[in-house]
């Protein structure tokens, strides 16, 4: 490969592309050429860097200068100053919220500093569509090692010794799962990668596939070798077109290189992989529903046992692993179980990828060692709460998880600790909420979601969620009594115990965790008929402060229910009978004249 003096690593992940990364690429290439630098400077499109809200992002190597929020119009100046005259452009360098000093180098930025990359080891470093770049960074080395020098049992022992646990939700030890499937009788055996990612608010599986599809394929082939599978499926949700495209491309390339298909790398092991495009329902991510979906049946979860390892896809032994679980495998084989087991806590080894979103300053994808505290996540990596608001809770584990309050921010993140406080690791969505988020409303949100996603097969899940939602809705509307809380607390355990699959069994979690940690907020809604966060529509009223109103009439035009009226050039008024409390007026007002009372 040709060597260049300067490599511009331009992020072309979904977020940066949405913000114009491809136009920037074109502008950069043109400008570099115009200045006659094309033999010295090269633009390399890379996968997602994870720091999505700073995008479009580029990192200039070898000096590691990090540019953010780059626009096409910046390019001529940037090329002239940095690449011609060697002076980094200050105005495009990252400035943290609280400090005034720009930080030029990526490794010094808090968002990246605390991270430890194993599953995302190639992020920002390779072009995900080029297998040679993956191979250039030790890609498929683990597969060679496994096929030439390890027995399937040795692979299983190595994964067991590493302590790797499933990243798809429950945290089941991966090595053990493989061992069960290996021991099960039946041919053929199947290996499935679960990339359904139905948890709203989480996008790490999408990003891992887009960033480094071969790392998942390599993990799949190694796993298939260990359990003796001959056919694999990657189950990707159809809402992820780029991920599907990259995976298809990766499978094609791996086949051409003899890394997939008949007699892989000349050994007597053969394994094929197909993509199945999942059709968008939360419950499809549950393993038995997922298999039903591949078989073309309605994706209703089935009874377990028998577990997929004994009787899975078409009643054959089947192993299902999450994307992130599989992305760890090659790294463990290459660097050894001992190395992996030294990272993390007593019970939770390695790293976890989180999608850090919501009301933090730095949103994006982060990979951190297990055992890091929530405070480090939110205040160091996340850079604190937006607009200097007050932190209220962080939601972890999605619709099966819970909300963790401020007094628990110093707890370390691992599987067991999260369960202790009423959340779960889940897939890794981490949604930060501030004083303007109402915890009763969030609970209503999750119950509404689950109500829509319950497949309806068990009465306890279908009617139980419905009943909980009905009560919580009444609380939001100020129509509940204190006894309702007792009712919820009696109902929740019943739904947990009587439901067939994980959806129903964990559905009460968001409710129970908010009732436990934010009981006062429930009581304020019930007793004082007040929503302290100013969210629950029935308990708030919008009004216009006549001193602040400049009669620009923006709100009048924006109001969907024509509820705002008044004379021209005079302060406006809201007709409460017509107001649907959507809050659009408050959002659109430039003078903060719309208030909540």
């Amino acid at each position: 490969m040709k060597e260049y003096r300067t490599n511009i690593m331009l992020c072309t992940g979904t977020e940066c592309v949405n913000k114009g990364a491809l136009e920037i690429k074109k502008a950069l290439e043109e400008e570099v050429k115009k200045r006659g630098l094309e033999d010295e400077v090269v633009v390399i499109p890379t996968s997602c860097d994870g720091f999505c809200n700073a995008g479009p992002i580029m990192i200039v190597q070898p000096d590691g200068i990090f540019y953010q929020q780059v626009k096409v119009e910046h390019i001529p100046h940037l090329v002239e100053e940095h690449f011609l005259k060697g002076r980094p452009v200050k105005s495009l360098i990252y400035v943290p919220q609280k400090e005034a000093q720009p930080i030029a180098r990526m490794k010094d930025i808090a968002f990246f500093r605390e991270q430890r990359l194993i599953t995302l080891r190639n992020r920002g470093l390779i072009d995900p569509e080029k297998i040679d770049e993956y191979i250039g960074r030790d890609g498929y080395k683990a597969l060679v090692k496994v096929l030439t020098s390890m027995t399937p049992q040795e692979v299983i022992e190595e994964i067991k010794a590493s302590g790797l646990r499933g990243r798809g939700g429950a945290g089941f030890p991966t090595g053990k799962k493989w061992e069960f499937c290996r021991a099960a009788k039946g041919e053929p055996k199947y290996m499935i990668c679960n990339a359904d990612e139905g948890d709203p608010g989480a996008f790490m599986d999408r990003s891992i596939i887009e960033t480094d599809p071969h790392s998942i394929l390599e993990g799949m082939v190694i796993g298939a070798y260990a359990i003796g599978a001959s056919l694999g499926y990657v189950f990707i949700r159809i809402e992820y077109p780029l991920a599907i495209k990259r995976m298809e491309h990766a499978i094609e390339q791996a086949k051409n290189y003899g890394l997939l298909g008949e007699n892989i790398l000349g050994s007597d092991f053969s394994f094929e992989v197909k993509i199945f495009r999942g059709a968008g329902a939360f419950v499809c991510g549950e393993e038995t529903a997922l298999m039903a979906s591949i078989e073309g049946r309605n994706p209703e979860p089935g009874q377990r046992p028998p577990f997929p390892a004994q009787s899975g896809l078409w009643d054959k032994p089947t192993n299902i692993n999450n994307v992130e679980t599989l992305a760890n495998v090659a790294a463990i084989i290459n660097r050894g179980a001992k190395w992996f087991a030294e990272i993390g806590t007593e019970t939770s080894k390695g790293t976890k990828v989180f999608s850090l979103v919501g009301k933090v300053n730095n949103t994006g994808l982060v990979e951190v060692p297990m055992g890091i505290t929530l405070r480090q996540m939110i205040y160091e990596i996340g850079g604190g709460i937006q607009n200097n608001k007050r932190f209220k809770a962080v939601q972890i584990g999605g619709p099966s998880g819970g909300c963790i309050p401020e007094n628990l921010l110093d707890m370390p993140i691992d599987y067991e600790e999260l369960i202790k406080v009423g959340a779960i690791m889940g897939s890794g969505g981490m949604i930060v909420m501030d004083e303007n988020t109402c915890m009763v409303d969030i609970t209503k949100y999750f119950l509404t979601f689950l109500n829509g996603e319950s497949c309806g097969r068990c009465t306890s899940c279908r009617d139980g969620i419905d009943a909980m939602l009905e009560v919580v809705t009444r609380i939001c509307e100020g129509k509940a009594i204190e006894e309702d809380i007792e009712f919820l607390e009696e109902l929740a355990p019943v739904v947990k115990d009587a439901s067939l699959c994980g959806l129903g069994q964990s559905a009460p979690n968001p409710l129970l965790s908010t009732l436990h940690h934010f009981r006062d907020e429930y009581l304020t809604h019930i007793k004082e008929k007040r929503c302290p966060a100013g969210v629950c529509k029935e308990l708030i009223r919008y009004s216009i402060n006549s001193e602040k109103c400049k009669a620009c009439l923006l709100c009048v035009k924006a109001c969907p229910s024509s509820a705002i009226f008044g004379e021209k050039k005079q302060p406006q008024t809201i007709n409460i009978d017509k107001c649907i409390k959507c809050g659009v007026c408050r959002e659109i007002c430039k003078f903060d004249a719309v208030i909540i009372i």
């Binding site: 979904t14 608010g201 996008f203 073309g296 949103t363 959002e587």
Partner: protein, 147 residues
């Protein structure tokens, strides 16, 4: 219908072909009209009721034509805490459609989705295949006026 037979033939040998066939048929025809479903039933020797069962289970399939521009607003958790409700009512107001509706002139269809997978930029919406992040009611007005 030749097109449909082509799609069915492609998957004839595959187990679990129903969903991929439905996906391709929808791509080809824009939606899944009844005669297409009947054709698939005949081709795969499946009862129509089972096909309807699958089609109605998944939010991805639709039985009526969609507008030229499908607007999808995210109501996922990250978007919810960042004010997705306001975004949704602003869109509904601007194009005069409720969730799930298509305008009579087949210009717009409006849907809400559980998560668009771009949560770091919440609140998020999509018009056909283009994403728009960090939405505000004001930005939506500008964006939608381009269509």
């Amino acid at each position: 219908m030749d097109k449909l037979n082509e799609i069915i033939d492609k998957y004839r040998e595959t187990e679990g072909a129903l969903i991929p066939i439905l996906q391709e048929a929808q791509e080809a025809f824009g939606y899944l009209p009844k005669d297409v479903l009947v054709g698939i039933g005949k081709g795969l020797k499946l009862p129509l009721s089972q096909i309807y069962g699958v089609v109605t289970f998944y939010s991805q399939f639709f039985l009526t034509p969609h507008g030229k521009y499908t607007i999808r607003a995210c109501r996922g958790t990250a978007c919810h805490v960042q004010g997705a409700k306001k975004i949704i009512s602003t869109i509904e107001n601007l194009i005069n459609l409720k969730e799930g509706e298509t305008s009579p002139d087949l210009k717009f269809t409006f849907e809400t989705v559980a998560c668009l997978g771009a949560c770091a930029l919440s609140p998020v919406m999509m018009v056909n295949k283009d994403y728009f992040g960090k939405m505000t009611p004001k930005k939506i007005t500008t964006i939608l006026s381009q269509y």
